[in-house]
Amino acid sequence: MAVRVQREDFDAGAEVRLLTSGRADVGAVVTFTGLVRGEAHDSGDARCRPLTSMTLEHYPGMTEAELGRVEAEARARFDLIDSLIVHRYGELTPGENIVLVATLSAHRHAAFEAASFLMDYLKTRAPFWKKETGVDGAGDWVDAREADLVARQRWGRAGEPTA
């Protein structure tokens, strides 16, 4: 069970090898890797601007705490042996890795569900903000997606901010 927030890239295969090394109780490993796409996010009009880079700002301290809470929630809900979240920040170019989630379980459904849950939660709770820079040099903050809120709500309302 670990959370890392870092500037540098990660190696999903190496991370999984570290997690599974020396143990024989893991039957299923699911990884999710999120990457920078070469197109800016849809912004109402249908045109897709080519993207030069994406810069991720975050809230040091809260990011780690929030990812830790998200991971603890996943481990309370699903029968996990171990899990890992790695999230990058700073300027990234198309094709680069942004985020890695890995879940280890005896059986595949828990691993799949937990990885999907972690991504849905992380998308609506981890304090990261994306700014896209287009070929014209202009930077735009990415709008939060309604679809991400809907995706999160299928897991119920636990962990929402209290009044």
Binding site: G34, L56, E57, H58, Y59, G61, M62, A65, E66, H87, I98, V99, M119, L122, K123, T124, R125, A126, P127, F128, W129, K130, K131, W141, V142, D143, A144, R145, D148, E160, P161, T162, A163
Partner: protein, 94 residues
């Protein structure tokens, strides 16, 4: 519950992120909470009165999110003895 002297000045760290930071022009600052400010929403009302940059950043307070001591909260949350309050747009990580 810890006792607190409600008449003493309460200093708190404010942090701003993403376009809230860009609009206020401030990444972080220490402020003394005025009398009468007890919730995060009260604080936003006061912040908006501090100048056109703040007025602009909090123009639509419903789209600005808040965290109290690094936990997400709603605007009705009581500030109490919090040391740090952050304001930011809806998150877009992952």
């Amino acid at each position: 519950m810890p006792e607190s002297d409600v008449s003493a000045p309460r200093r708190i760290k404010l942090r701003y992120f993403a376009w809230v930071r860009e609009k206020t022009g401030v990444a972080e600052e220490d402020v003394e909470l005025p009398m009468g400010v007890s919730t995060v929403g009260d604080l936003v009302v006061w912040l908006r009165s501090r100048g056109p940059e703040f007025e602009d950043a909090f123009q639509r307070p419903e789209v600005v999110r808040a965290a109290l001591d690094q936990r997400h909260v709603k605007s009705a949350a009581l500030i109490n003895a919090a040391r740090e309050i952050a304001f930011f747009p809806p998150v877009t990580g992952g």
